[in-house]
């Protein structure tokens, strides 16, 4: 299959791209830093991806770059079968409360721009009769929680959007997959204290690949977070006001 990956130079995207490479899939990488793109493309080629792995520049903070990057991907691959979005930004609630400019950037990147990118991808996938759109949201969007109010709000919006896409377009062949990671040890969370059930990029990638192959509309990774969140979603407000998580 032909995959376009946005943000696969690092973290969970990197791990997922490697699994796809080992299966011998055809990959096309988009991201904003050219050096990182090239290094990652060579890594995936060495691990077995179909040669060559091509790349295009695409900046999550610059929506004007989305369509050209996807166009180039379509030209190189002939046809896009699946788009995977792991690009995203994170900052702690403390950092965000202190810095409105950073808040604007994160809300824009993780909600508005991610949705705009998905819209470009959706149109192209539907035009060829469907395909897979797999996007990394977060458990942070499942409930308003003290440590992730702002980041979580952006991810909540993203999750709702992805849910809507699934409802509207599944019958036309577009499988939308909303990935909800809990805490995963990547560069994004380096230095934060891992809670119980923290995942690794490799474990996450294996499960997400199962979701992609199976067309699951929603997947919690690591799996335990599904149960954790189902409890947290049911906690009364009075409790949520008192607890720290």
């Amino acid at each position: 299959m032909n995959f376009v990956l946005f943000g696969a130079t690092k973290g969970m995207g990197r791990a997922l791209a490697r699994l796809l490479a080992e299966r011998g899939e055809r990959l096309f990488l988009v991201e904003h830093c050219i050096d990182e793109l090239e290094a990652s493309a060579r890594d995936l080629e060495t691990r077995g991806a179909q040669l060559p792995v091509r790349t295009a520049q695409c900046d999550l903070l610059a929506p004007a770059t989305f369509a050209p990057a996807l166009e180039q991907a379509e030209r190189e691959l002939g046809q896009i079968d699946a788009v995977i979005v792991t690009a995203g930004l994170f900052a702690t609630q403390d950092q965000l409360e202190r810095d409105p400019e950073l808040t604007a950037r994160i809300l824009t990147a993780d909600f508005t721009n991610t949705v705009l990118f998905c819209e470009e991808a959706r149109k192209r996938l539907l035009a060829r009769g469907g395909g897979t759109l797999c996007v990394f949201s977060s458990v942070a969007g499942d409930r308003g929680r003290k440590p992730v109010i702002l980041y979580g709000a952006a991810k909540a919006g993203l999750s709702r959007y992805l849910e809507g896409l699934d409802h509207k377009f599944r019958s036309r062949g577009l499988k939308t997959i909303c990935v909800k990671p809990g805490f995963v040890k990547t560069g994004m969370t380096a230095g934060l204290k891992p809670p119980p059930f923290a995942g690794t990029p490799d474990n996450v990638a294996r499960r997400v690949l199962r979701a992609i192959d199976g067309g699951w509309p929603e997947v919690y990774v690591p799996a335990a977070w599904r149960w954790v969140m189902s409890v947290i979603r049911r906690l009364p407000r009075g409790v949520m006001r008192r607890v720290g998580f």
Binding site: T9, K10, E36, A39, S40, R42, T46, T186, G187, G191
Partner: protein, 447 residues
């Protein structure tokens, strides 16, 4: 691309002593992570303070996010990899494709950067030398921030000082080295129960003629006539005809869930372990097909096994003693160890081949002996002093990547090559920016 901001983290070597509340930088881009760092560290499998900062507040770069394979040439076997890639990952990717690293240490939880910086050796040292012998070039960030690609022909002094240089010449960003083609991913092994030291040493020397990989395990609590008894292991890659048709299955790993209490480390339990290990090998000689992990990495079967040594941690002492006509050096060493109150679960003995190109590389012709033991705050430094004095008298040296307690004057007495190494460091780092807790302890660096 900017790296992530530094964060506080408790860091330690594999011996879990000393522990530092360090300042860690990490990024998928080593160029970014190493910009302001005083030292790079990989998976922290060196035992003591080699991978620890000179002072808690000078940042160290954790390389493990930088794990990309940048180029592999299937005709020559040349692989270029980022320094943070682990041996575990290399084996996972390459073993089933018929390739293996030219030299492997006894654990897969090491990074390529760490393999170069310690110039690791393996069971094949007597034929293939250290890892550094197979390195073509190194991309290094030096103290003034420049990134330099060094090799035998470009900046050869820097190249030779970096191989086995314990991270003290700069930050290794990328390494190009030669992988080796193997006939199958399985090992054909033979192991033999050995009654005493003379037979062990003779056995190692004889096996070296016929086998590409050899190592001995010694019961370091046996005394008198039984001193040096143990098991001699030999191996080679199985031919395609001998090997099972299937790829070696993933080995199940176990976890040590918590620090063991001190009690687990008393002499009787170690004695029991050593006895059991020895007599498990009931037949005198066993041979057959062996899983590569069981052959190369028997200890990797248990995650976090360093926790069995409890809260106070442990250390390893590894030295190489030049050959003598009799087995006097090894005998005197083992006797001194037992007499000095030393006790341990593991003692590994191996004959080394010629000295390699690394300016401070550990191996030299002779017998290498390594043993693990728990740290006792009063007794351990005394025991190590005693062993070091013996090693100096025998003309041997110690392995820095295992060391925690050696005194500067002892190290300097066993290292005539230090002057040349210091010269290269002064040239590339006149202000002494790149340094570690170990270099402060042993080389007189300013913290």
């Amino acid at each position: 691309m900017p790296g992530h901001p530094p964060f506080r983290s408790k860091i330690a070597g594999w011996g879990r002593y000393p522990v530092v509340d360090g300042l860690v930088l990490t990024s998928e881009s080593l160029a970014a992570a190493t910009e302001t760092a005083s030292l790079s560290r990989g998976l922290g499998r060196s035992y003591g303070d080699s991978s620890l900062p000179a002072r808690p507040d000078v940042p160290v770069a954790d390389t493990t996010l930088a794990d990309r394979l940048l180029h592999f040439d299937r005709t020559t076997g040349l692989l270029t990899a980022e320094a943070g890639v682990s041996l575990l990952e290399l084996n996972r990717v390459f073993l089933r494709q018929g390739w293996f690293v030219p030299v492997s240490p006894g654990t897969q939880f090491v990074t390529v950067g760490g393999m170069v910086a310690s110039d690791v050796h393996g069971k094949n040292h007597h034929v293939d030398g250290c890892f550094g012998e197979h390195v073509e070039s190194i991309k290094l960030r030096v103290a003034d921030g420049r990134i330099i690609e060094c090799s035998d022909s470009v900046e050869p002094d820097l190249f030779r000082a970096t191989i086995g240089g314990m991270g003290l010449t700069g930050h290794i960003l990328e390494v190009t080295f030669r992988m080796r083609q193997i006939p199958s991913p399985w090992i054909w092994g033979e192991s033999e129960r050995i009654d005493d030291l003379d037979t062990m040493v003779a056995g190692l020397k004889k096996a070296a003629q016929a086998w590409p990989m050899t190592v001995g395990w010694v019961d370091c609590l046996a005394r008198g006539r039984k001193l040096g008894r143990g098991i001699l292991m030999k191996g080679r890659w199985a031919t395609r005809e001998e090997a099972p048709a299937k790829a070696p299955p993933l080995k199940r790993r176990f976890r040590i869930p918590f620090e063991f209490p001190r009690l687990a480390l008393c002499r009787p339990s170690m004695k029991a372990f050593n006895l059991a290990y020895y007599w498990k090998h009931f037949q005198r000689i066993k041979q057959g097909i062996v899983h590569p992990d069981a052959f190369f990495y028997p200890l990797d079967m248990v995650d976090d096994w360093n926790l069995i040594y409890g809260r106070r941690g442990f250390t390893q002492y590894q030295c190489v003693l030049p050959h003598a006509d009799d087995n006097g050096p090894a005998r005197r060493f083992l006797e001194a160890f037992v007499a000095g109150g030393g006790m341990g679960f593991l003692c590994v003995i191996k004959d080394c081949g010629p000295e390699g190109k690394g300016l401070l590389s550990f191996p030299r012709p002779g017998m290498s002996i390594a043993m693990d033991f728990p740290i006792h705050s009063r007794k351990t430094p005394v025991l190590i002093d005693r062993l070091n004095e013996l090693v100096i008298a025998e003309g041997g040296r110690i392995y820095l990547t295992k060391d925690t307690f050696t005194k500067a004057e002892h190290f300097q007495a066993m290292e005539p090559r230090l002057e040349a190494f210091n010269g290269v460091r002064r040239k590339w780092d006149p202000d002494g920016r790149i340094r570690s807790a170990q270099s402060v302890r042993l080389l007189g660096d300013v913290a």
